[in-house]
């Protein structure tokens, strides 16, 4: 079981998609089949936290066999980071199926097939430990998502789908180049082998800092577009606005996490020195993203676009946390990934429910909806509050840890970044409350809004898991943290001895410091690059 569980989780949706393809075009049956398959996948994925060895670090449930030739392996494994992201995925898919229940009535079969294929690819991305396999899954997410947007989206869906596809495609080829380069030099695609090789190479100076820098950038750009990091984010609002609800939920909930996951796992995990060396400008971009995304969100006339820009802002936190290169920051970043998936996923679902009723996302069409739709308003409020980062809800834990970690970081200007990033709590409140007010408060200006039906049982069922999780994750974070933390610790740079020493010296200048809380990463810029040249 332990060896095949990951394969099972990954490919059950694919098998389901195949089965759906062969089913007759009976929409009702297709819906139920999709729901059952996705719930089954979720149920299977629950084995992961159940059988996870929380005491151990490193990857678990590993399978590793030859795939193509001797070098390309089918190597899957989960650690505390990927396990939870997989669970997030398997949770959001059934939920997405539920929200698509009525809103999709044309080409239903194709829709659910694409959805399940997307699920497979997303799970694969988080579990692949072979770079080649990773890239395969990575790109494989692209097609179903682009098709979901393009086939089931709104007016400018084609533009959005193409933009989404091209943006990500262009960026990921650089990652492919980097992966191939690494393979050529290491003879392996295996994550840990490559990681070890880089570490050793840096120590004995057999790889130049310049080369590593380019590799770092190759990976970085692919992930940064996916995150999306300012200024590579402009595909996101378009994609979100045009996507069908399920598409938005998965896009925001999972796809964006692939970017941050990649940054953490590969950029930081494999190139610790480069991560430290580049942290300044990356963090600058992250902070710009936080503020910029929020400010732009503030003035959006469109509900979904606002949520989309809020994602830019929220993901800025995640990137900031990762590139704080502190355990706390990265813990928070991982947690924030999960949080964002839940809260923004919920927000998009809610937006979609409104769309089903009103067929628009424009604020000017709403207002005063709290009266006809009190239950809906309540769910919305909870989602908003989770997104705002209200304590005791999930968002707070992540945001706090991220900012705290950044604040403790030894990266240059970390404190400035943290302070600027913290201002995100203000902006977040601004645009989200503004949004909430626009939709729910005030007088009803459109008569047809007075009779909007409140959400029904199906919709409530689809929302409840997310909202409940938002609360639980806000209160009981240690349950998640106990598996995230070891994974993060083993992913973050085990600071080379030199740098730890440098850090220590650095700290001695400030005797008033009680104890440096952070596990110091490199503050010395590109030490290996200068020392690596023979």
């Amino acid at each position: 079981m332990n060896n095949s569980i990951l394969t099972l989780v990954t490919f059950v949706p694919a098998i389901g998609a195949l089965a759906l393809m062969l089913m007759p075009r009976n929409d009702r049956a297709l819906r139920w089949a999709a729901l059952i398959i996705s719930i089954a996948t979720f149920a299977i994925s629950l084995f992961l936290p159940m059988y996870y060895d929380y005491g151990a670090s490193g990857f678990q449930f590993e399978t590793n066999r030859n795939w193509i030739g001797q070098t390309i392996h089918y190597h899957m494994g989960a650690d505390g980071i990927s396990m939870w992201l997989v669970l997030l995925t398997t949770l959001l898919v059934p939920v997405s199926v539920l929200v698509s229940w009525k809103s999709i009535h044309d080409r239903v079969k194709e829709f659910f097939v694409l959805l399940l294929l997307l699920e497979m690819a997303m799970i694969g991305v988080f579990l692949a430990l072979d770079m080649f396999l990773f890239y395969v899954f990575w790109e494989a997410t692209l097609i179903p998502m682009a098709l979901l947007i393009g086939m089931y989206g709104h007016e400018r869906r084609v533009y959005a789908a193409v933009k989404f596809f091209l943006y990500t495609m262009v960026a990921s080829v650089f990652m492919l180049a980097a992966i191939i380069w690494l393979y050529v030099h290491t003879g392996s695609f295996d994550y840990s082998v490559i990681r070890e090789w880089i570490r050793v190479s840096i120590q004995n100076g057999s790889v130049s800092g310049t080369a590593l820098q380019w590799l770092f950038l190759g990976f970085f750009i692919a992930f940064a577009v996916k995150v999306p990091l300012f200024p590579l984010h402009t595909w996101l609002p378009d994609a979100h606005v045009e996507a069908p609800t399920a598409g938005s939920v998965l896009l925001a909930g999972v796809l964006l996490k692939m970017g941050t996951y990649g940054l953490l796992r590969f950029n930081v995990g494999m190139f610790p020195d480069q991560a430290a060396y580049n942290s300044s400008w990356i963090n600058t971009l992250a902070v710009i993203g936080i503020i910029y995304g929020a400010l732009v969100a503030l003035v959006q006339p469109n509900l979904k676009k606002l949520i989309a820009y809020s994602s830019v802002s929220h993901l800025g936190f995640v990137v900031l946390g990762i590139f704080s290169l502190t355990t706390i920051g990265a813990d928070g970043a991982v947690y924030q990934m999960l949080n964002h998936g839940i809260s923004t996923g919920a927000l998009f679902m809610l937006a979609g429910m409104l769309y089903e009723r009103k067929h628009t996302y424009e604020f000017k069409e709403f207002g005063g909806l709290a009266t006809p739709m009190p239950v809906y308003a309540t769910f919305f409020l909870l989602a908003v509050l989770s997104s705002v980062g209200l304590p005791l809800l999930n968002g707070f834990v992540g945001e706090f840890l991220v900012l705290s970690g950044t604040f403790q970081s030894a990266m240059p200007h970390a404190m400035l970044f943290a302070i600027l990033g913290s201002s995100g709590v203000i902006w977040g409140a601004c645009y989200l409350l503004w949004m909430y007010q626009k939709v729910f408060y005030g007088q009803i200006h459109h008569d047809e809004n007075k009779t909007l039906p409140d959400i029904d049982g199906r919709e409530r069922i689809s929302l409840v898991p997310l909202v409940v999780l938002a609360v639980i994750m806000g209160v009981a974070s240690p349950y998640w943290m106990k598996s995230i933390q070891p994974a993060v610790v083993s992913t973050l740079p085990q600071a080379a001895g030199v740098k730890a020493q440098a850090q220590k010296d650095h700290n001695q200048d400030k005797p008033d410091l009680v104890s440096p809380v952070l596990p110091a990463a490199a503050a010395v810029p590109n030490a290996s690059a200068t020392g690596g040249q023979k």
């Binding site: 899954f137 790109e139 084609v158 495609m169 080829v173 180049a177 050529v184």
Partner: protein, 516 residues
Amino acid sequence: MNPIQTVDYIRILPELVLTAFGIIIMMADPLLKPGASRKGLGLVALGGTIAAIAATFCQIAWSARDANFATPGWFGMVRVDSFAIFFHLLIPAISAVCILASLEYLDAQNIRSGEYYALILFGTVGMVLMSSAVELVLIFIALEISSISTYILAGYRRRNAGSAESAIKYFLLGSFATAFFLYGVALMFGATGSTSILKIGPALGSNPGLLAIAATALMIVGLGFKVAAAPFHIWTPDVYEGAPAPIVALMSTGPKAAAFAVLLRVLFATTSSDWLPLIWICAALSMTLGNFGALMQNNVKRMLAYSSIAHAGYLLVAFAASNEIGRSAAIFYTASYAAMNVGAFAVVSHFGAGGERYVSVDDYSGLGRRSPLLAFTFTIFMLSLIGIPATAGFLAKYYVFNAALSANAHPTALVWLTIIGLVNSAVASYYYLRLIVVMYMREPVIVEAPAPASGAMKLALVLAAIATIYLGVMPGRVLTYSDAGARDLLPTAAAAGSATPGSSTFPGPVATTPEK
């Protein structure tokens, strides 16, 4: 004593089989009523290709028995090594799919002529022979066989002015390029005194004179034309647009694969790597011109023609890598490209309907609803052409770039070439995507219902699609063959390995880890 032994006949068995079937068709054609469908002859032709594949298996079996099988036969004319066998399998397979696609096409275009199939088979003879020939004379003749048959086939829609124009363009420019090739051969003969590829290399030594260099250049011109590499690509869009779609499927893959095979043999016969920078430029130019040219195309056939130029460029990247991985990648690429492109043109062929009316991108609108199978397979081919993982196109591209990055000679330049290639493939995704977009995301503009695909067409599409996916997901076997082919390509240079340092104009660090 007969100097020609049984084994020699085995060495040309696929050619013999194909020729025999071709002649049967040629003879049977007059027996049929003038206006009748030639489907039966098509099936015979199909049998011919399958028989050729079987003959190749016969060769494989023989080679397992006879260690000398791979030594040149027919007085050093042909050499049926793993490399040749790879193409012996690939090319008849391509022809088979094209014939399958043609069965429906000829009826749709109201072409009642059995010579069509005979010409395909004879052309296949030429292509197959090209891959195993190791003597420039034979290569030249084989090249002409495949070329002339495609010239004729390109002009097969005789009532169509475009088709005739396509044929004349192809013919004139093809002959023009052949003259360059021949001139190159002449100079090479002058430089070495031999026209045998296997002897040219040793004769030249490691420091060929100017004559040989010029000869290589001129041969590159001729072969570059055949593979549609820039700057000799310019005929491609016009010819592809005018020629019958199934024939485009054939000539964008079969002769191209064969020409690449020749190019591999010819270029790597000379151990000198003077031509590396040249191929570098050709590769970069082909990719760029091909992809950018395709961006604005509204005619699917022309678009795919440009795409074919671009793919020749990717393939040349493998050449530029100039190592065994690169050669293997190039071989694999021909197969992958064949799978996806044959399929794509088969769809174009079916959907074009009578007179090839519907070949603009807009005509494909709503195809996802109108004929789901066609649209689905077409999507697979497009995705593969883009280079999306789990398709042949991705793995092919991956191996090519892998080769480029693992090259020992000119590593920096090849890194740049890789980047150019990757950026190009990203640009390219736009126009392939356009087709997917119109198929699935737009409403149909054509009122006429598309004719249902015939069984043969469906079979062709499914075969091509399966091949595309198979090569993308489980390419292990094929890769083994292409590796073996790459090894066999240079029996003499194999000892020296791929580490032959070129004239290193690009200084750079030597890679730390040896390639496998």
